[in-house]
């Protein structure tokens, strides 16, 4: 069982531009942690450092440490890091050449699971967990991109949890969705947190307040405040946090 992720003095750059300015935080296991902050403050970069996706961008660098259960992820095989720490992106990105079934099975299949009945089992389980099974059970062989935006995002969530990660990173998972789909995904987060540690980036403060247990406020690459969501939203310690959550800027 996962104990948690600690981030120690994390700095990150794109070329010459520094986007993270020394972030230290401890993400506890089996709860939902939200990262809020205005556009361009480094929220996405922060969670992309957690599964080593940041370093795949040409010109991107980072320093500091990210510890998964005490183990430095920069010393681990990135492939293993990403199997433990799954990710859902801002825009739904199903694999365009694959059916609904193949999308969910992709992570397993390309990691060596061959047996059809096991794949069937995992696909159904993941789609059920992704609250999508009822809607697609009779058309699993249709292209993933034929679904609506909200369904595609739930497909991407099902795809991410099919490989049974311990952590799920969500990078503004609802920003491209309508309110109904957003509601469904937020419900889903409440279900998923029973089995998973979730880190969600959002620029929607109400969403952070609704779904998360802990919230971090990020501004210009610095973690201004990190506390229980209830405390942070009702009684922020820092003036800048208060200004942001009361809508005075951002």
């Amino acid at each position: 069982m996962l104990k948690g992720i600690s981030v120690e003095k994390l700095l990150a750059w794109f070329g010459q531009k520094q986007v993270l300015n020394g972030i230290s935080m401890t993400i506890k296991a089996n709860i939902v942690t939200a990262i809020i902050g205005p556009s361009g403050c480094g929220k996405s970069t922060l969670i992309r450092c957690l599964n080593r996706l940041h370093e795949t961008v040409p010109g991107a660098r980072q320093s500091g440490r990210v510890l998964l259960d005490g183990q430095d992820i920069s010393q681990m095989d990135p492939v293993l890091v990403r199997r433990t720490i799954g990710m859902v992106f801002q825009k739904p990105n199903p694999f365009p050449s694959m059916s609904i079934y193949d999308n969910v099975a992709a992570g397993l299949r390309l990691n060596g699971v061959r047996k059809r009945h096991r794949l069937d089992e995992y696909v159904e389980k993941s789609l059920r967990m992704g609250a999508l099974w009822e809607e697609v059970a009779d058309r699993l062989d249709k292209p993933g991109i034929s679904l609506s935006g909200g369904q595609q995002q739930r497909l991407c969530i099902a795809r991410a949890i099919a490989i049974e990660p311990q952590v799920l990173l969500m990078d503004e998972p609802c920003s491209a969705l309508d309110p109904v789909s957003t509601g469904k995904i937020e419900e889903l987060i409440q279900e998923l947190k029973k089995a998973l540690t979730i880190v969600i980036v959002t620029h929607n403060m109400q969403q952070a307040a609704r779904v998360s247990d802990y919230t971090g406020f990020l501004l210009m690459g610095e973690l201004i405040e990190f506390d229980e969501t209830r405390k942070l939203f009702t009684n922020p310690r820092d003036k800048r946090t208060e200004d942001y959550i009361t809508g005075r800027f951002g």
Binding site: P58, V79, G86, N93, M98, A106, N111, R159
Partner: protein, 283 residues
């Protein structure tokens, strides 16, 4: 805005739309004329014999180009063995890892190769294959055609793979799939329909190449004699017959041209059918 000016704008709009339509129409006129002429001239000489018989000796009427049809198919098939692996794998390299000096150099060279007259590539094949083997051969012809294919395939593959959004790649990586599997199993299949189109273009081009075959595959009046021997091909046969003084050969040359065009068309349609139902990359 006055009503006058509104009318003027409408008139200009009509004028420009008409011009645009005319330009578009002009581009298809030559093709239609060529096809029409080919049909009217070639259809007369196309009969069952044309597809089943060998060429008759000079002076005898009749016969066909069966050996040249088979020869062209063999040459195209062999050329694919050379051109497709190098072109497709090279294209994948350029798209995924080509953002450096090597990539720039390969891209530049490939464009230069694309602009190289095919007869020059024929001379090259003559030097490196025909001379050492001391005879014209199907292998030499296929070698030349394969080289001609490479630049088209390499650039089409590269461009189409680059169209696959970065988010698709990241989704694959985020699932803990190794990069090489992400590329081969997720990115390349996403670009498949486009890559196939690029390959088709290359095939259509080499199917009609004549110059590089003249002194590599050479030509042959008999059935295929083995890959180390000269082999007949439709374009060379058409060329030989067209410049001959015999009326009957002229007719056969027209028929050959018609069959060549039809083969390319059928190839096109077949591939469309095969790749139908496969999804296009997201733009």
């Amino acid at each position: 805005m006055t009503f006058d000016r509104y009318l003027r704008r409408k008139a200009i709009n009509l004028l420009v739309s008409t011009l645009a339509f005319l330009c578009a129409a002009i581009t298809i006129v030559p093709l239609l004329m060529i096809l029409g002429h080919l049909l009217s001239q070639g259809a007369k000489a196309v009969n069952l014999d044309f597809f089943t018989q060998l060429p008759k000796p000079v002076g005898e009427v009749g016969g066909g180009m069966a050996n040249a049809i088979v020869g062209t198919l063999i040459l195209i098939g062999l050329a694919c063995l050379v051109g497709l692996p190098i072109g497709i794998i090279g294209g994948i390299y350029l798209a995924e890892f080509g953002n450096n000096r090597t990539g720039w150099l390969v891209r530049f060279m490939s464009d230069v190769l694309n602009g190289t007259p095919s007869i020059v590539i024929g001379i090259f094949a003559y030097t490196v294959v025909v001379l050492p083997m001391r005879r014209f051969s199907a292998l030499a012809g296929a070698f030349a055609l394969g080289i001609i294919m490479i630049p088209t395939v390499i650039r089409a593959t590269e461009e189409l793979i680059k169209l696959v959004p970065i988010s698709v790649r990241e989704a694959g990586l985020a699932l803990g799939i190794p990069l090489w599997k992400v590329i081969l199993r997720i990115v390349v299949p996403s670009a498949k329909a486009g890559i196939v189109t690029g390959v088709l273009l290359a095939l259509a081009r080499i199917a009609g190449e004549t110059a590089p075959l003249l002194f590599t595959a050479f030509g042959n009046r008999f059935w295929h004699q083995g890959l180390g021997q000269p082999i007949a091909s439709l374009p060379v046969q058409i060329f030989t017959y067209a410049i001959s003084p015999f009326e009957d050969w002229h007719r056969q040359a027209w028929a050959g041209a018609l069959v060549l065009i039809a083969m390319i068309l059928i190839l096109n349609i077949l591939t469309r059918i095969v790749t139908r139902g496969q999804y296009r990359p997201m733009k």
